[in-house]
Symmetry: C2
Subunit: 359 residues, 2 copies
């Protein structure tokens, strides 16, 4: 019997992916040239479907990388000359911050306690700051930064680039892309693909900034600098031989999601997360790690456990239900449950039933 993976990524494949892989093999997609018309039309379909699904503005670009981790590096390299400001809500947003330090930038930080989010303060951002780095969904703690707080900072600092790490939450959040400059994710979470592809959405302002740095003699990288990615993207190509199979699969899965309807996906996500948080609120041995309901992630639900998390994780595993352990220091104190589009209401109800057996 197969496991159902509620892990926060890699997670369960989107339920159509296996069939798409089989079709791709029949059509010999892995053997086509990345410089061929066949690949160009896969790239185009992927970009068009993604833009339609997420309502991304026409003049924004979509680039492909090896991972979302790579995109942290590329954003700092290409969009920050001296100084960026990071909102740190947990381990992953802190790693984005660390990349800026490793690349020799001046880094200012606002940091929240675990299970909370930074409430951004305008007076914490100095005038020379070139980029504000937000993490929409902190995968380590299950905290979601409210989009309205990000938009407010964007309005307050109209000349500053706004970066939004949307790993482990897209396609759920209805982001107004026109209010931010760059948004990125990896495909092995909400989109339910095999890992090995990062997706980088960016505004014309990001392109201009990178070009300005390049013109000023700064090092912005090589094949995955924004100017290099853009030159190829204009031809629906990538600078290197990319993960062609995953780009094909992402095109297809975005198509499937559009057919289902993004509204319905969002509605179901909210139903499933309400069900789970209600279960945690009522449970004698579990409680949501994030106290403030307003900032609880809809897509990565983190619960504190009475005693060790291992008992619960093992019991669920014996029922073919795989949830994640806690992150870092919380390894044996938390469980993390992904709520992605591929997880059906019935699967969530089954998971809730098993969790309630522990009472």
């Amino acid at each position: 019997m197969r496991n159902i993976y509620f892990t926060p990524g890699p997670a369960a494949l989107y339920f159509t992916v296996e069939d798409h892989i089989k079709t791709a093999l029949r059509q010999q997609i892995p053997s086509i040239s990345h410089r061929s018309k066949a690949f160009q039309s896969i790239y185009q379909e992927c970009e068009e479907n993604l833009k339609a699904l997420l309502t991304i503005p026409e003049d924004y670009h979509v680039f492909f990388t090896g991972s979302a981790t790579e995109i942290w590096e590329r954003i700092i390299q290409n969009n920050v000359d001296q100084h960026c400001h990071h909102y740190v809500n947990g381990a992953f947003s802190d790693r984005f911050r660390a990349f800026a330090n490793e690349l020799g930038k001046k880094v200012s930080v606002e940091k929240a306690a675990d299970g909370e989010r930074v409430i951004p303060h305008q007076d914490q951002v100095s005038k020379d700051c070139e980029l504000l780095a937000f993490t929409l969904n902190e995968t380590s703690t299950g905290v979601a930064q409210p989009l309205e707080e990000i938009y407010q900072m964007a309005r307050a600092f109209p000349d500053t680039l706004i970066a939004v790490d949307a790993v482990s939450t897209l396609p759920y959040p209805d982001i107004d892309y026109s209010k931010v400059d760059t948004v990125f994710f990896s495909v092995q979470k909400g989109f339910g693909l095999p890992a090995g592809l990062g997706v980088w959405i960016l505004s014309p302002r990001c392109v201009e900034k990178a070009q300005r740095l390049l013109d000023d003699g700064r090092v912005v990288g090589t094949y995955h600098s924004i100017p290099s990615l853009l030159e190829k993207a204009r031809k629906n190509q990538t600078p290197e031989t990319p993960n062609v199979l995953n780009i094909y699969l992402l095109a297809k899965v975005c198509g499937d999601m559009m057919e289902k309807g993004i509204g319905k996906i969002r509605q179901e996500t909210e139903y499933k997360s309400s069900l789970m948080y209600h279960t945690l609120d009522e449970h004698p041995l579990l409680r949501p790690f994030v106290k403030d309901p307003h900032i609880r992630s809809k897509t990565v639900i983190v619960a504190e456990t009475e005693g060790t998390a291992t008992t619960l994780i093992d019991m669920l595993k014996n029922n073919q239900l795989v949830v994640g352990g806690g992150y870092g220091n919380y390894k044996t104190k938390h469980i993390r449950i992904a709520n992605f589009p591929t997880h059906s209401k019935e699967q969530f109800e089954m998971l809730v039933d098993k969790i309630n057996l522990l009472k």
Copy 2:
């Protein structure tokens, strides 16, 4: 009917890959955590099989990246502080050189005419040079740099790191890894996997050099710096969520190749390349682009065509045989034929028969 892809990469999948993908899906490999024991044992199997297949020294490391293109960048970032020397035999070795320029290094170059290779001259390498960059198999022209010439330079410059781009030729060449410092390739060529994974083999000296640069305050990158990759590799992990499926497939394909025997794979490669070069030598409308038989690639065979290459490419395509066009300026003047382990002798004989119909 299915095509047979003789393109120099992406190419035909290794003949066992489709079955391995189906097994991976049944075993839900794409859903396992990259921090799990299950992943660690896949990583370990992949590294062990690769080291056994290619006879890589025990103390050398194997890292995974998004592409071989990425490895060009990472080598320069991590192993060159000021000055590197590049042997340019065509478009790909020249792109490796260009990366060093873009990263602000002092770059010295020896350049060959198209279809020839640089004969390395010791007096062209200055004393401050930290790394010699060779391309074993120039995919654009079908020129192979003799390994003995690389070893000679390594002996002449014992304190200089020796980098060998082995894209589009491994697992064929029997490299003595102990005589060089870093060798790398991408999996969509000789190993017959879907694209989206680079493999970086490197000596302890590369690690030491990167650590020294880091200690001296140089920027060596972030998640894919050598120190960061090494820290995770020691636990059979990667810094980011990697292309887990491809690492699994590479482990399996290396296992399959060992079962067949690397000696037999090399023998068959030589038989098939002899057959093809003989065909080209005898053909009234075709001739090998590389004149000197000693430096003709065994794995990417490039032919000049009388008239346009398009006629031949189309005729072969109508027979489900897909060969590559020429690279860059040679687009309509050359054909390029990959000779990889997945291509059987029978497939090569069929290709030769069809090419001879053009007489």
